[in-house]
């Protein structure tokens, strides 16, 4: 008897579940998407708390001038002098003398242990308007660079974390802008239909034919050099958003056209529901989950475009950190041959984009179980 009561409750829960709950139920079953979701949350957290997690200021202000193009320093617990509970790295010395033909040579002093400390005081940063100086880890005296440093001595680990933050911010802003435009233009087209729809569709299609990146390059190239890095960041997001809207607008329009003619809308109308009620209780809920899915899916493309543009020097610029900016100088043979740790951020970046793609796909499958299922 008890078990049938439970199954009755389960059934009731199933039939009264909101769409969001149902999507979540189905999403949970998709193991790959769940793993991707966990990675995504981890990376986003890293991005949000980037200043706290980074031992050094990612800009030139935090550069270690005595350790440029430095190899990654991996904290150890044991060496020939025995083990310690606290991880440590070795100190480095740079010198140039007649013995080295007057080139700068970095030597590692394996006798000079430097212990990694946690919750150390370091450079100032602001979160939520409050100034902090505490960082997750660091060493008392000197520097620790677990991903190495670049040609000016900037800590690649700190830069990677801040690059994730930048990518997220650009993506979010770009998606928001294209979302608003898509909602307005797609909404107008889908709601009014007829001639307005046809004309808007024609314009949207014409814009969609133009390759976005060359167009983006053309627009971005003419941003004067005098704009500040914050303004530049905003303009780049704006351009990304402006170029990304046609695809989204098309989806919004299609959703609207489809949902408006659904029989449940007619049923609700026949049952005497007022238009406001139909829009609030039926159209919007059926719609928002699809839109959220679309937004998640278009997110990685924003990030990719930004990276590509920054990479060729038309997107974000130093001192803003983004993966594209970080990879700018990696095509030289010197870097390719000698400093491969420049490529460590690529791993994080690919993980970020893939996590987004998998979560987006999982969400789409969960939101539309009758759509593209095998």
């Amino acid at each position: 008897m008890a078990s049938s009561e439970i199954s009755q409750k389960a059934k009731e829960a199933y039939f009264t579940a909101s769409q969001q709950q149902l999507i979540w139920q189905r999403f949970k079953k998709n193991r790959i998407a769940m793993v991707a979701g966990a990675i995504l949350i981890f990376l986003i957290t890293c991005g949000i708390f980037a200043p706290f997690l980074s031992p050094y200021n990612p800009t030139i202000a935090g550069a270690n001038k005595d350790y440029t193009n430095g190899a990654p320093q991996i904290p150890k617990f044991c060496d020939h002098n025995g083990c310690s509970a606290q991880p440590f790295i070795y100190g480095v010395k740079r010198e140039r003398s007649i013995a080295t033909n007057f080139r700068w040579v970095t030597t590692i002093d394996t006798e000079d242990r430097k212990y990694v400390e946690f919750f150390v005081q370091g450079w100032e940063y602001k979160m939520l308007g409050i100034t902090f100086t505490t960082h997750l880890f660091g060493i008392e005296d000197g520097f620790v660079h677990i991903f190495g440093t670049d040609n000016t001595g900037k800590d690649i680990f700190s830069r990677t974390l801040h690059a994730i933050k930048t990518s997220m911010a650009v993506g979010t802003l770009g998606v928001m802008i294209s979302f608003v435009m898509a909602l307005v233009i797609g909404g107008v087209a889908g709601y009014f239909g007829g001639i307005i729809d046809s004309v808007l569709q024609m314009i949207t299609d014409a814009i969609r034919t133009v390759p976005a990146i060359p167009l983006f390059m053309a627009v971005a190239a003419f941003l004067p050099d005098t704009v500040s890095s914050e303004e530049r960041f905003f303009y780049i997001s704006l351009i990304l958003g402006l170029i990304g809207w046609p695809t989204l607008a098309r989806r919004v329009r299609t959703h609207l056209l489809v949902e408006r003619t659904q029989e449940y809308v007619l049923a609700a109308e026949l049952a005497g529901a007022r238009p406001g009620h139909i829009i609030r209780r039926h159209l919007l809920p059926s719609f928002t989950s699809y839109i959220i899915v679309d937004l998640v899916i278009s997110f990685p493309y924003m990030v990719l475009s930004e990276t590509a543009l920054s990479f060729i020097g038309l997107g974000l610029k130093d001192p803003v950190n983004s993966l594209g900016v970080m990879l700018q100088n990696t095509t030289s043979a010197d870097v390719l041959l000698n400093y491969q740790w420049y490529f460590i951020p690529v791993i994080f970046f690919v993980a970020l984009v893939m996590a987004f793609v998998f979560v987006g796909d999982g969400l789409r499958d969960a939101a539309d179980p009758y759509g593209d299922r095998k």
């Binding site: 976005a212 167009l215 053309a218 990696t330 043979a333 970046f349």
Partner: protein, 337 residues
């Protein structure tokens, strides 16, 4: 036949109209950019040491016809492009753009089309096999490759390949020609040199195009496989490859042809960046130089317009092809016959 001609004519008209709209968009964007050709050229000369005045600029604007209203200038630009295929002179370099582009645009287009061709040559059979196979390993690995193709953008792939070649062979494989052939006239040796290097940009460009095409083909095939006519065909005794190629594959062909235009668009998006990394000398690189080095809006506009025109042209051809291969479209276009 008359009906088919009319259909082709309408499609052609539509394509022309799209091109006109695109030209308006591109032209307006070029106009929105601060500073016009005259100012830019004179500013450039200024850096070379000759002083300029407001009068000089006005004089130059008159000479270039920049004092005319926007619509007049656009009409004359469009007229020149459409009727004579003439894009005018570059802002900075003062050379005719057609001359400047030369065979560079053709080479880039050829590279892109080759990449597209390879992408579909791989994606169509593999996609069809994957859709009909129940092997979890095959489907899983294909899924992974597809996602990697999406997440590992072409420029990163190009970088990694360069990293590999530099570390193991000491040559980064960049450029379309070896040094000795760069300015040599075309002959057999130069052709061989070209072919030995051009595979890399084609591979890099084709990489994510293949990933996308694979996903498209597989999804379309799965879609068709679910349809009743496939079950009905099985119920008549068809199976295996005969069934797959004659039924679902035959019917998925239309949408696949339709997606060619989008894929070319995607490849064009990657072109400038890949060109920048591999230091190629074709249109993508030229666009980059035009934008980054000299703010040459005339040249940039011409390249964007040409790229878009190529896509519009491809879409026009696929539209016609679709009418020929799909009886549903054919009958609605040509009536009963």
């Amino acid at each position: 036949m008359a009906q088919f001609a009319r259909f082709v004519a309408t499609r052609f008209g539509l394509a022309l109209f799209t091109l006109l709209m695109v030209s308006l968009i591109v032209f307006s964007l070029m106009e929105l950019v601060p500073g016009n050709c005259a100012e830019r050229y004179l500013a450039f000369k200024n850096t070379q040491g000759s002083g300029i005045t407001i009068e000089d600029i006005a004089e130059e604007e008159r000479r270039l016809g920049l004092d005319r209203p926007f619509m007049v200038r656009w009409t004359s630009w469009v007229g020149n492009v459409f009727l004579r295929g003439d894009f005018g002179d570059s802002c900075i370099l003062r050379v005719n753009i057609n001359q400047l582009l030369g065979d560079k645009f053709l080479i880039s287009a050829a590279i892109c089309f080759t990449a597209l061709l390879f992408a579909y040559l791989i994606a169509v059979p593999v996609g069809i096999i994957a859709a009909n196979s129940s092997s979890a390993l095959l489907n899983g690995s294909l899924r992974f490759i597809s996602y990697l193709g999406l997440a590992l953008p072409n420029f990163l792939l190009a970088l990694l390949i360069m990293l590999f070649f530099t570390v193991y062979y000491g040559d980064s494989m960049t450029g379309l020609f070896s040094n000795e052939f760069r300015d040599a006239p075309w002959d057999w040796a130069k052709m061989k040199d070209f072919l030995s290097r051009v595979w890399l940009p084609i591979f890099v460009l084709g990489w994510s195009a293949t990933a996308f095409a694979l996903q498209t083909v597989r999804a379309l095939m799965l879609d068709e496989n679910r349809k009743l006519y496939v079950t009905a065909a099985r119920a008549r005794g068809l199976y295996g490859r005969q069934l797959a190629w004659r039924y679902p594959a035959r019917h998925a062909l239309g949408p696949v042809v339709n997606s060619l235009g989008f894929d070319l668009n995607r490849i064009f998006n990657e072109l400038p960046i890949v060109a920048a990394i591999l230091t190629l000398t074709e249109a993508g690189r030229l666009l980059l130089d035009a934008l980054a080095a000299s703010n040459d809006q005339q040249l940039a506009g011409a390249i964007i317009f040409l790229l878009t025109a190529t896509i519009v042209g491809l879409n026009f051809i696929t539209d016609i092809a679709l009418a020929v291969i799909d009886p549903r479209v054919r009958r609605s276009v040509m009536g009963g016959g």
